[in-house]
Symmetry: C2
Subunit: 189 residues, 2 copies
């Protein structure tokens, strides 16, 4: 998506440790015009009539998932990274290794938030090694619902997580795909 790529070039920052910072327009301060366009762009890849639910992971996936839920006119669920005192009932969980934060955590959703008839669009802000998406896929499969596919705002293609998921047969769409960030210079696929 051209406009997203241009914005990454203008306002993204490449930090040490191979980290792309897009907090100023995409994941902590959020430009809602761009967000809306990204949600509408996603409609081109996943037909509106099939999707019944959007699933993401807290916290930085929630804004994009909310925009998708607005455009698809469906419900949204986010997986939690910590178990809150005010959750009861059956939780379905998966283990996720975080590239950015250097730790492994459990993500959970209450089982009764889904039915086996749900067709789930999985959404997240970043795709690098693919661990968050793998965890979300695992959860949907355990719940017995159908996965329509995954959409991410930015894929770091060179970290190969997206391609591994595609090889397993999952449809994975990135609105911007980064080929390399060597010496702070961002190149897109």
């Amino acid at each position: 998506m051209k406009e997203l790529e241009e914005r990454i070039i203008t306002d993204g920052e490449v930090l040490s440790g191979n980290i792309l910072k897009v907090g100023s327009f995409l994941n902590q301060k959020i430009d809602c015009h761009l967000l809306k366009k990204m949600a509408k762009e996603t409609l081109k890849f996943f037909p509106k009539e099939k999707i019944t639910m959007v699933l993401t992971i807290e916290a930085s996936g929630i804004a994009f998932a909310t925009a998708l839920a607005y455009e698809y006119d469906v419900e949204l669920v986010f997986a939690k990274k910590t178990t809150s005192s005010n959750v009861n009932g059956n939780l379905v969980s998966a283990s996720v290794e975080s590239y950015t934060h250097g730790k492994t955590y459990n993500i959970t959703v209450p089982a009764d938030y889904f039915t086996k008839d749900d067709v789930v669009l999985i959404a997240d802000d970043f795709l690098a090694k693919g661990n968050a998406l793998k965890g979300l896929i695992e959860i949907v499969e355990r719940l017995g619902a159908t996965i329509a596919g995954c959409v991410v705002q930015i894929e770091k293609v060179y970290q190969n997580g997206g391609n591994k998921l595609r090889q397993k047969g999952y449809k994975v769409i990135a609105l911007a795909g980064i080929k390399s960030m060597e010496n702070g210079k961002i190149e897109f696929v």
Copy 2:
């Protein structure tokens, strides 16, 4: 807001420890029709032309704030509860005591996400003792921006946080105000 009150009665659960669980439609699984209506209802209390920014706190405030940013056609910022490795620059912080989780944490936003000309609508899912809103207010005041007011989806009026803020002169709007939850029975203002 009648529809929200009815939904709280139908799908909310009163748990021990004076906790109202609305995860199944409002803050983990989110009904986007209701969310959209809540954002549109907010327009009645805060004029669209004045607001330049929506501010909330991760994670359960983000969906509502995104819907507000959609309706107000402005940018959205959320305060983080943990300092991530990929944030640099000047952070403005405030200390927040969590009623639900029984601990105190720092919330932060990068100072350069705001200008002194911003007129900020502060949004959150719940208002009980008012600690999260107080923290967000403190941040906006430190940044020198203007506070339009605060909007929450649900206020537990009997915990008095909202009234303390109103007495200090802040405009605080709750889309549903709970007067009591004694013996699991929810009564609205």
